[in-house]
Symmetry: C2
Subunit: 461 residues, 2 copies
């Protein structure tokens, strides 16, 4: 615009009735009614309705006729109170509309490949992701990542209130913490390096520095299967705390953190919960804690299904134990503890009172795993011994060993993926929907199959 | 301890005079004076002095004799006021000492390879890093990462106050944004993938979603040289904003953010500044803004050094232009703007009023670059054209192109490394000192040469 008027955000328009304002944003919908064109404009503060009247400005009207969804425009207009019967109570700006005086197109948009105006985008997942930069603009999808932002931020605030220090863990590591094939390798100046599957070793090291630490990191895992719950790249929330008297303190901290996160989501993202028809899990007072073997016994008694010799919960067991927690403890979350030594990493603390079983836990909710944690071995000699027993080569993990060589207190911690918790809270059916740019075996932004097809003509030459 | 007494943090001891308390922490120093042993204990709240008197508890005395630095202990003791002449005013807990009644060793520590009690660790950088898990426990080093935590957190808060949304950018990408050899490749299930050198493309995409965004990310760059300013892995702070009227708004936002960060460091990390004898850069009112060519002209006039035909500032120019900013504008920071098109990425906006030069800037402070930013091309056709002109292949960057295909407003942003700004603020001589676990050509935690030597005996077989 020629005039140097300051921009007004959509949300502020209702307080400026009868004033001329400058709005900037994206056209979301256009409805033509003869010489009137209605436009919904979106900016970061929300939506507002504008009306273009050929009788008010023919020039604006002619421009408006060219507009399509996702055009970026700036608009000079007058804020009018809507008549009582035209007020839209579902819209925060619904008591006004803006009479357009002038429109300036800042950026054009090509015709959209599908209707972005639907309340829920009715697209197959591959299409949703093939057009990610566009589909992320859909209000309901946008809200998924608002919730995720709140979750991550609340995690940080919860722990800072408990004297935890935030630190930055590395992505490139010299060796995998726990071995296994599910690790990405990097050619590092001719040396072999790997991408961190978890900041586990580093957060333990940092206990020696600040006692209580947390970190938000990308973790990479070469998941060789395509499921609705796995991503190769995850934003992981990790905490670790020293000087525990009992491993139960770790679960106490999880309980506190999770409740803190829920409270914040309830407070700051209730609209997103509403639009997804989602609700936060109920916890009445405390989250019940039950040993794996006891859980299997309970399931056997309730259903007759006998998994009492399994070293882990089966998916159907996870569902049943959450039902039990709801029935008996009025809680949608439950801690399952004491997984067998063989099912947990070598550094997991064995329960001295229950040999063969570890002081470890999973937090199960709504039928599936939310979070995992436990106490770790902090004694140097024991750690070396356990690593050897399990065939773990710690040769390249000298810094990790140093932490124990030079004194580390009894400690433990927990870890969870921001995408999974977002998915669980919002009731999404696929974890990919809770990742802005999901990576899996078949896709990095674009589908590999799509690229292969693209390549074909070149290969023919 | 047998007793179930709750732990007291060191900092709370002075308010508990004459009470029995339970402390937990690391032994930092031990001084023997006959039948008296003085111990400095550190926990996350700070240091406290303890005295072990053989006459009070022979058992505690015998244990204390075995203690060395970094032993982890819990101590039952009585808080005594120190006599006036024994008060240590440099220590927050310096008006009391704890008379030890009982000591329990939670974890032993091997003999340290060097004295951790020095005020400044007098070690060569390789040794400092070879023993990173230990050296990070040194008070002065610990403080470096407190400052870094404050910087990163203040960055987030500053931008959130301006309506920016935090998002998570991916580490694994299909293609490098700007080409070049300095990129790490990953074998991704048989496909070729890369590690992100910057979240540039993604933050631009996200402008289309939330208008104003920021992100804190690990960025990876295969720097083929070992300098005091380069790391292969950096924690990068990135921001991007849409609907700018003028590119100067981006510099305004940088100025606001930097000042916000400084204020927070001043408030929350002044002790760390003091112990490093560091001071925050002075900015009087505003940070001066000068075109590259004008800067070169100024330098020529001031020093006779003629770099007026160079496309960039030389290191000595960066030093001279900061001297000029201090002399003429009483500012330790200065924006240098309008770098030539050829020296900036293809998506940088060319100044329509100054063809051949871009609407880009570097923030220079204390003789070196702190931060970089600029306006980007937001028009789809122009972007494609510029990419082609520069030989940039956008074939695999379909999601990036989508953002423009479907309407992106005029926008720009900025980016800086958390390690460099930490280094600059604290006056460290090497950026590795400002990275918890620095990665470079020669090291991932351990030195590659060290590993090679280790391998040698095996190779002989």
């Amino acid at each position: 615009m020629d005039n140097k008027q300051e921009r007004t955000l959509a949300k502020d328009a209702p307080s400026l009735t009868n004033k001329e304002i400058l709005l900037k944003g994206w056209v979301k919908t256009r409805r033509d009614h003869g010489k009137l064109i209605f436009l919904d404009l979106w900016d970061r503060s929300g939506l507002i309705q504008m009306v273009v009247n050929a009788k008010v400005s023919l020039e604006a009207y002619e421009t408006a006729r060219q507009l399509r969804p996702e055009f970026v425009i700036e608009v000079l207009g007058k804020v009018n109170k809507r008549p009582e019967n035209a007020v839209n109570k579902n819209l925060p700006t619904g008591e006004v509309e803006v009479e357009v005086l002038k429109i300036n197109v800042l950026a054009k948009a090509q015709t959209l490949p599908f209707d972005m105006g639907q309340e829920t985008l009715d697209l197959e997942l591959p299409t949703l992701l093939d057009y990610r930069s566009l589909t992320l603009r859909h209000p309901k999808i946008k809200e998924i990542f608002r919730v995720q932002e709140v979750i991550i931020d609340a995690f940080r605030d919860a722990l800072r209130e408990k004297d935890f220090t935030e630190f930055q863990a590395p992505v490139i590591i010299p060796q995998t913490a726990e071995g296994g094939a599910e690790i990405f390798a990097v050619n590092y100046f001719g040396q072999k390096a790997y991408l961190a599957q978890s900041p586990q070793f580093y957060k333990q090291i940092m206990v020696g520095v600040y006692e209580r630490v947390f970190t938000v990191n990308k973790t990479l895992r070469a998941e060789p299967s395509v499921t609705t719950r796995h991503l190769t790249e995850v934003t992981t929330l990790d905490a670790e705390m020293g000087f525990i008297d009992s491993w139960e303190e770790i679960m106490d901290m999880v309980e506190y953190t999770i409740q803190y996160v829920f409270e914040r989501v309830r407070k700051d993202a209730w609209q997103s919960l509403e639009s997804h028809e989602a609700s936060l899990p109920k916890i009445s007072k405390r989250i019940p804690r039950v040993k794996l073997r006891d859980a299997q016994e309970i399931i056997f008694k309730r259903t007759g299904v006998d998994h009492r010799k399994e070293p882990d919960l089966m998916p159907e067991d996870e569902r049943e134990i959450t039902r039990w927690a709801k029935d008996e403890h009025d809680s949608e979350l439950v801690f399952v503890t004491h997984y067998p030594v063989s099912k947990r990493p070598f550094y997991t603390y064995e329960d001295p009172k229950d040999p063969g079983y570890t002081l470890s836990f999973d937090l199960i909710g709504r039928g599936t795993e939310w979070l995992t944690g436990g106490q770790r071995i902090n004694d140097f000699e024991t750690l070396i011994e356990k690593a050897k027993e399990r065939g773990v080569d710690l040769k390249k993990s000298e810094l990790y060993l140093q932490a124990f060589r030079f004194g580390l207190p009894p400690e433990g911690g927990f870890s969870f993926g921001s995408e999974r918790i977002t998915m669980h809270i919002l009731g999404l059916s696929n974890v990919r929907e809770a990742s802005l740019f999901p990576r899996d075996m078949e896709r990095i932004d674009t589908r590999f199959s799509f690229l292969d097809e693209e390549k074909k003509p070149e290969n023919k030459k």
